[in-house]
Symmetry: C2
Subunit: 352 residues, 2 copies
C-alpha cells in the first residue's frame, strides 16, 4: 500500500469551506460554524481521524435523515447540579458543545455539575469540550460511548466501543492541560483514516474478526481493536459505557448503531460531562500556581534513553496546532477529493 500525497490547506479556508458545506446540507449558520470549527480544530491538533475526514459521513447521514438537521437541547431532567438532555438524534458535535456549555455554567454556580446526553450521535474529538471548560477555569471529565468494536478482556466478539475519555485542567501561565485517550490501544478513527489514505497500521492495534493480529486497515475495520493495558483498558471502557450509556438512558454496547454501516437508523450514542470549578476547595490563583509548578517540574525531569523531550498530556497536540496554524493543515488527496465531491453534491464551490 502506498501513502497518498498530501497538500497543505489554510485553517481559515478549510473552516470556511466546511461551514458552507454544512449550511448547504441544511444546518443553521450557528450549527454549521460549530461543526466546522470542531472538525478543523481536530485537524489542527493532529487528530486527523476526527477532523474533516468526517464531513462525508456526517453529511451523508444528514441527507438520509438518520441524523436530524436541527439539533435541539431537549431538557428531560434538571437539578441545580445536573441536566439530562435528549439529543433527539441531532448532530453529536452540536449537542456536546451545548451540553458542555451548560455543564460549565452550572458548575460555576454549584461548584460541580453533570450533564448527560442521550439519543446523541458521534461527537467528534472530546478534547474540544474539555478545552472549553479549562478555559473557563474548570476541571472537566468527558466521555462518550461508541459503536461496538472492542471485546471485553478474554472475549473475541466486540461489545464496547473505543469509549474515549478526556480531561481538561486549567493552568496559570502555562498552557491548560488537555488529555484525550481512547480506552483501546488506538482510536478506531485512526484505522478508518489509514484505510482512506491507503496506509498499513502497526501490529498490536487490532485483530481481524477471526482474532488474528493484522496490519491491514481493511481487515482491522472489520475486526476488533484491543483495550489498552488489557484488563485495565477493559475496566475503563466499562466505566465509560456506564456513564455515557446506562446512566443517561442512551443505547449501550452492541445496540449503538455504526456511524458508517448502519445508514438506516439513529446511533443513540450517549455523552457524559462532569465539570468542577478548579477553585472548588482552594483559591484559583493557588491552584493555578501549583499547576504551573508541577508542569515545570515535570518538564525538567532528566530524560530516559530514547526520548528527546517530556511532553505534558496534550502538549504534542499543542505543538502540532502551532505548526499547522503557520504551515497549513496537511490533507491527503483522497480526503480533498472526498471534500470536493461532497461540496459538489450541494453545489458548493470548491475552494481548497
Amino acid at each position: 500500500m502506498s501513502v497518498s500525497t498530501t497538500l497543505r490547506v489554510e485553517k481559515e479556508k478549510l473552516e470556511q469551506y466546511v461551514m458552507e458545506v454544512f449550511q448547504a446540507a441544511g444546518l443553521s449558520e450557528e450549527h454549521s460554524s460549530i461543526v466546522a470549527k470542531h472538525l478543523v480544530l481536530a485537524n489542527l491538533r493532529g487528530i486527523d481521524s476526527h477532523g474533516v475526514s468526517r464531513v462525508e459521513i456526517y453529511t451523508k447521514r444528514l441527507d438520509l435523515g438518520v441524523t436530524e438537521k436541527k439539533s435541539k437541547v431537549n431538557v428531560v431532567k434538571e437539578s441545580p447540579a445536573s441536566m439530562l438532555i435528549d439529543g433527539g438524534n441531532g448532530l453529536g458535535i452540536v449537542l456536546a458543545t451545548k451540553g458542555m456549555e451548560i455543564a460549565v455554567k452550572k458548575a460555576k454556580e454549584t461548584g460541580i455539575a453533570v450533564v448527560g446526553i442521550k439519543d446523541s450521535s458521534h461527537c467528534g474529538m472530546l478534547a474540544d469540550y474539555t478545552m472549553y471548560a479549562a478555559k473557563h477555569d474548570c476541571i472537566a471529565l468527558a466521555t462518550t460511548n461508541a459503536p461496538s468494536s472492542m471485546a471485553p478482556w478474554g472475549g473475541k466478539v466486540g461489545y464496547f466501543g473505543t469509549n474515549p475519555f478526556s480531561y481538561g485542567i486549567p493552568a496559570g501561565i502555562e498552557h491548560d492541560i488537555i488529555f484525550d485517550m481512547a480506552t483501546s490501544v488506538v482510536a478506531r478513527g485512526k484505522i478508518t483514516l489509514a484505510r482512506k489514505n491507503n496506509q498499513s497500521i502497526p501490529l498490536g492495534w487490532a485483530i481481524t474478526k477471526e482474532g488474528r493480529p493484522t496490519t491491514d486497515p481493511f481487515e482491522a475495520a472489520d475486526g476488533l481493536v484491543l483495550p489498552v493495558g488489557g484488563p485495565k483498558g477493559y475496566g475503563l471502557a466499562f466505566l465509560m459505557e456506564v456513564l455515557s450509556g446506562l446512566l443517561t438512558g442512551a443505547a449501550f454496547g452492541p445496540y449503538i448503531a455504526s456511524l458508517y454501516k448502519d445508514l438506516d437508523r439513529s446511533q443513540n450514542v450517549g455523552q457524559f460531562f462532569l465539570v468542577m470549578r478548579a477553585d472548588l476547595f482552594e483559591e484559583l490563583e493557588q491552584f493555578k500556581e501549583r499547576m504551573d509548578q508541577m508542569i515545570r517540574e515535570i518538564r525538567n525531569i532528566p530524560l530516559a534513553e530514547g526520548f528527546e523531550k517530556i511532553y505534558l498530556p496534550g502538549e504534542i497536540e499543542l505543538e502540532t496546532t502551532v505548526e499547522r496554524q503557520t504551515s497549513g493543515i496537511p490533507l491527503s488527496v483522497n480526503i480533498l477529493n472526498e471534500l470536493e465531491a461532497v461540496g459538489r453534491r450541494y453545489g458548493v464551490r470548491y475552494s481548497l
Copy 2:
C-alpha cells in the same frame, strides 16, 4: 529466591487480632475496627499488598507520632455538594472511610457530590470505599495520590505515585461492579509484598534507579514502576495527582512523604471521592436492569483463545473473597511473624 510457606487464617480471627493490635497502639475501638476490617477485606479480595502486611508500618508510624492516633474530620470548606476535609495527619483508612460516607450522604441529597481530603495518609485499598457507595446505590469514583515512584513518560526520575483509581457501580441481581487499578503497570504494594515474601517479580513491572529492567523486588523498590500503556497511564496518573493533590491542597508529586522511608514526617497525601446517585437521570430499577443485562451479555461473549472465562471488572476479587471466606486467608510465615512481633510490642496475645 524461594517462595515462603503460607498458612491459612480465619477471617474473623485475623480481624479480631488486628483490631486488638490497633487498640493497643492507641486507636479508639471504632477506628481500630475500621482499620482491621479494611485490611482484612483487602486480603479477602486477594489484594494482599494492601492487607495485614501493612499493620507493621501503620503501627510504627503511630508509635513514632508521624501519624496521629486520633483521626478527625476537620471541615475546611463545605457546600451542599462538596466538602474539603483537613485530615490532620490521621490514618488514611479512617479518614477515607468517613470521607466516602459523607460523599454518599451528600450525593443522596444533591444528586452528585465531591469530597476531598488533604493532610491524609495511605488509605489502603480504594475498592473498599467505592464498594460502600455502590451498596448505597451510588456510582463512585475514588482516587488518591501516593509517594513518587513513577516517572512521567519519557523521564527517568520519579514524580508521580502509582496514583490508583477505583470505581463502584451498583447492579441489580448481579453483583455490584467494583474496579480498582493502579495507573502503573502494577501497584507498588505488589513489589513490597514480593520483597517480604522473597519472590521475584515479572519483567515489565519496574526499572532500577539506573533505568534498567529488573525482576528483583529489592532493586525495583529502589527504582521506578512504569505507567500502564505508556503515555496513557502517564496521562491518567497526572489527572489523579491533580484531583487528589492540587485540587485539595494536599502535597503532590515528590513532596509526598514515603510511608516506609520518611519516618520523620507526615505524608500529606490527598484523597478525592466523587459520588453520583445511580438514579441521577433514570429510575433506579431501570438502571439496575440495564446493568444486569450488560453484565450477562458480557459474560456470554465467546472466549478468545487462551481464556477460560470473561471476568467482569472486580470479579476475580469477588471469587477470591468467596474462596477465602471458606478456606481462610493465606498468609506467609514472614507476614505472620511480623504480625506476632507487632502484637508483642503492645503486649497483645498472639492468636493466629
